[in-house]
């Protein structure tokens, strides 16, 4: 069974993230922060706040999963090496004279390399999250999915919260209302790794890690080269939504019906609403209070 192929993927799945991939992850995260308007000015006016934000960008996923599992959100600070690494990257990114770093980073090949390596860390984070959650809840596969997702893509949520607190961010169109592409693909990965872990997916973990990472990296790279901001998961989503919410036809059908009924009732103005609720709505409105 240990064919050269298996050996390759196994070796790959044993790669340590520590020095280089982590560096890439921190670099990409901090550069993303640096590009926010006014970030550099803040760094000069108030380094502590900027450093704090940078740490949230680098370790956000871990912090979120800690909160969700009621572990100390500060735990990441106990890993001095990584904090030191992230801090120094934050330091050179913001305070390097004639900011060479960001100039260097503005070259596409460098970006491609860094982003690709960051995507590799995503896989490791998801696997780590799933395994960790499993150590808490033996068969809580929902929790495993959520934690894997939080580890992999939760940074965006944490940083959004922080911006909300700092008043930089007015919440509309946020992570809740429409998931970004990374969130979606991370959710997909988290589901796959969870099912692999609970033996519902008959594939060895290292193979899954290998293929998922390849998928992540290639899609990300292609997205960066061809300026498309969201590589499409549309077919998958389409199938899913058709499976789950497939009766749009009947729905829109009886919607038309109820609306004609509505217009007979003389409330024709309600045709703009996308849902047939509006007629019943008004009647129900006054009950709303009671039923919470």
């Amino acid at each position: 069974m240990d064919s050269p192929w298996d050996e390759l993927t196994l070796a790959f799945s044993h790669t340590s993230m520590f020095p280089f991939f982590d560096i890439a992850h921190y670099l990409v995260s901090v550069m993303a922060l640096r590009r926010q308007p006014g970030a550099v000015a803040v760094a000069w006016k108030n380094p502590v706040s900027s450093w704090f934000t940078a740490m949230l960008h680098c370790f956000g996923g871990g912090i979120l999963s800690c909160i969700l599992l009621a572990e100390p959100p500060l735990r990441f600070l106990a890993n001095h090496t990584n904090v030191l690494l992230a801090s120094s990257i934050w330091y050179i990114t913001f305070f390097c004279p004639c900011d060479l770093v960001s100039h260097g980073y503005s070259y596409l090949p460098v970006q491609l390399l860094a982003t690709g390596m960051k995507e590799v860390t995503r896989t490791w984070k998801i696997v780590g999250g799933v395994t960790h959650a499993n150590s808490y809840y033996r068969d809580g596969w929902i929790i495993m999915i959520v934690i894997g997702w939080a580890r992999g893509a939760g940074g965006a949520i944490i940083t959004n919260l922080e911006q909300l607190l700092k008043g930089d961010w007015k919440p509309e169109g946020d992570e809740w209302l429409k998931m970004s592409y990374p969130s979606k693909v991370t959710l997909l990965g988290s589901v796959m790794f969870t099912f692999q872990h609970t033996k519902h997916l008959a594939v060895s973990k290292h193979n899954l890690m290998f293929f998922y990472t390849i998928f992540l990296v290639t899609t990300k790279i292609t997205m960066m080269v061809t300026e498309t901001s969201s590589m499409t998961l549309a077919p998958l989503e389409d199938v899913l939504s058709r499976m789950l919410f497939g009766w749009q036809q009947q729905f829109s059908l009886c919607r038309k019906k109820s609306e004609t009924k509505a217009s007979f009732n003389g409330t024709g103005s309600s045709t703009s609403k996308p849902i047939p609720e509006d007629v019943v709505e008004n009647i129900k409105k006054k009950n709303t209070k009671k039923t919470e």
Copy 2:
């Protein structure tokens, strides 16, 4: 001592919430969500977000009490049956063709039944919360009250937070500033069950549960039938506030005094302020910073 009456209440206090009362609770919560403007549109645009909100509506109280006791907020996800139940109710509520569910729910008798059963679950939640908190802090009766309250009525707080994050909710007149009727009555119940648990209330638990549930259900039903949005606890509150803050008389008296003084001092414009502070206020203002 085991009179037929005791047996009845005892049997009642042993009723399992699981299939039917939980269903009623989920149904009422999800319907409350569905009535929020735009909820249905969101459910079609982004089911994941809508499902997430629905879970918060169904399990909010438990989540809040978990947070307050530093337990994993995700714990409720480990109970697969209930999550599945709530999810399927969310599903049929939002995606049932020609939304039969909400039409059926719009009939008053159905609503009365569901709401009554939901109120029963409230009692069970309060008792659960009090007992659970007591297992942490042997004699921490304040904590027991708070946790019982959070389990029973904390859902509103959680959902408010979530709406705040989603920007759907501008915070004024929120749960903090004036408690809704459910909050008040839950607080009352939490206090009673705590004192019963610490043996300061000489009544057997199952009797208290029985009578409190009867009280909850009847008031709720009457509130729904007669369209009064808040059944009155006014007498109780009145007595309490008279006991605690009973010197409104002297207060307003020396308020008048200080105000005449004020107007003598030529700051008569301050009469509009409800409190005699305003004169001293301005003098103190500049010290405010220092004293935090």
Copy 3:
């Protein structure tokens, strides 16, 4: 080694905070709350909410450190004596007839005494936080600093959050963006006590506590007597920022360079921006999405 001096400082470091210093702390905190516009009106309209806010003002630091270490944020409620003390102080402050308390408090000597005693409790809190964090993470000195800081000055953050939730506070210029003087001095103390605890600072704990307390009290008193709202740590900060970010010269130099370049590129309008990024900015903008 136990010279009379050592004995004095040792005795000082063994002083119990409980009755008097805690009372002073609660008094100062509640008065700070009472001075917020509308606080008294809220206390009359909705005592529960006002009491809740007062508790946050009195125990905010402990709550924050509990959250950061994943301990029950409600723990402070288990200490009935202190809660009772704080509550009664809140009670007499807000509801005392002809509000004698706040009139009495408006005399400077009383304020000086109370504030001085409050500053003493700050030292005790920092030490407590550092020791407590050390019991979790044996050599996690970053965490020790953060927890000591949170215990000592975290109240402001908690109360800001609460005001944010109540909509009383629009977040700009908050604790994150520029630290208040207490935050800075608490951070300094937290660093010192951490290094003392990890034996990097060769001074006995009771001496450090003594001198740091003296420093806190004197600066605070002088700040209150001379109306200066922020006693200066400027020299220290100046040295630090010069050490860390010392190449402002070259920076502004190549900034000038890049800007002349920019103006050659015809984007001379960008000279107002404080940083040379803006040229590269626009080019990078479209990549921002991808790199999070």
